[in-house]
Amino acid sequence: MNNRGRGILRRLASHKSAVVGASILLFFAILAVFAPLIATHDPREADVSARLKGWSVDHYFGTDGVGRDIFSRIVYGSQVSLKVGIIAMTLSISVGALLGILAGYYGGWLDNIIMRLMDMMLPLPSILLAMVIVAILGTSLTNAIIAVSIVYIPQYARILRAAVLKIREQDYVTAARVIGASDFRILWNAILPNCVAPLIVQATLGMGEAILIAAGLSFLGLGAEVGEPEWGAMLNENRQLIRRAPWTVMTPGVAIFLTVLGFNLLGDALRDVLDPQLKMQGKTR
């Protein structure tokens, strides 16, 4: 890793919040990757004779309304949530960044069209937009992922476009053009590396939010299918039981909370390290 990278990592490590956040995320990542090894039961196996049991040696986090082991569901749920976060962000960034770069670099009518398209999506509150997209596409986890990624496209487009506009005027870009570098080469070598900073920050924070929105959608019945070990859906299934069996609701809730917290802490620290300016403009979304 080059010196610059190492310097960034060092500064990052000095932020307590970054360390905490990264640890949390690492924990969940391990859960997700090694789920089959860590889970004690099959997450979908319902043992009605053991319904609503509290914490015990057999079932670390107890059982839910139909007798499924909550611990295993949470462990597999981390797989689902991380999958959602990563896929949604990847899709969102790919499309959004592409649009933003094209808009910024070529300008003119292309810029106008793309920005108007983005403007169509921005005034809509995120949950609303996600709900509508899922309603149109149909209820499923895949569609929830698609909905979430669409919701975030305008943000990345904007960030990238702003970065590209800033850099486009630099001398080294002009120099590259003068010696005949192709557009693609200029974009790839000169412009892209400079856009990476705000992108990383936004991606990290965005993953937390994506998981939150996806959980919200599942909570409303618009996301994960019945029986799938997704944290939001677990909250929904068991919400009537909150008085008799609070652990059925609290455990997935805390899981969501910790994951989002992890992303927020890490993202915030990244923002401090990479670009303190962002913090004051309040680009928390």
Binding site: P123, M131, R243
Partner: protein, 328 residues
Amino acid sequence: MQGYIIRRLLYFIPTLILISIDSFAVIQAPPRDFVTTLVVQMEARGDQVDEDLINALRARYGLGKPLWQQYLIWIGNILIGDLGVSMAYNQPVSRIIMDRLPWSLLFSFSAFLIVYAIGFPIGFLSAVRQYSIADYFLTFVGFIGLAIPNFMLALILLWGHFEATGQALVGIFSVEYAVAPWSFGKFLDLLYHLWIPALIVGTAGTTGLIRIVRANLLDERKKPYVTAARAKGVSETRLILNYPVRLAINPVISNIGYVLLALISGEVITSIVIGLPTIGPVLLRALQTEDMYLAGSIVLILSVLTLVGTLVSNLLLAVIDPRIRHGV
């Protein structure tokens, strides 16, 4: 300044049109058209299907014509106040929305007040007493607030309230006051029922605001003019209040748009959980039952409200900050 206002208004109108296209897309989304669905439902209920009525409906909503014509007809209908008919509720959409919109607005507005009334002073305190225990504690709370999913918070608070008082905090009024005429008691009951949801929705916005205010104030304090003023002997309080605060207000106001978005999103989910008679639950049901005119109209109205709010915040910003007024 006039130039700025005019430019903002000019920008507002095309965005309004774009939003209407969005909402129109929502309405057109399901594969069957509205009248066909209506017919299917009526037949399922065993109602008589009146040919003339069906044809009249088709003509009124312009189904079967090219898409852009349908769009214009829809817009025309909206302008005279006809937002279509909801099939699930069997009422005109406008009536359903007008029944619930005031509550939604009241609710969002209270959340909005909470966000700014709590957020700003806390951010201020946090900056002034930087690195103190209070600062760390508040920052910590801030992170927590941002990370908690608001539907979970809603569930927990509902549960807590139930355990504490033995009553379920569902809806906007307690049973006694639900149908009673307005009185001071009823008003108090409303406030009592309102503060928990408003708090839930406001949590994320408040924490965001705290961090923005804090960051800006801290940055301003380091600037040379502050040191100069302090050297001249201006008291600390006056120092903070007169200068950095004025500058810190800038991003606060420019973020009203984002805050509104968060509030509306939060309001939708929270009112679904708590069962408030606002627009949220209605939207969910509309989407689930493919009640498209209702869904599309709600989307339209919420987006327009957000847009208006953003516009107001932009204008407010121009009033407060001369730099923006004169186009610097």
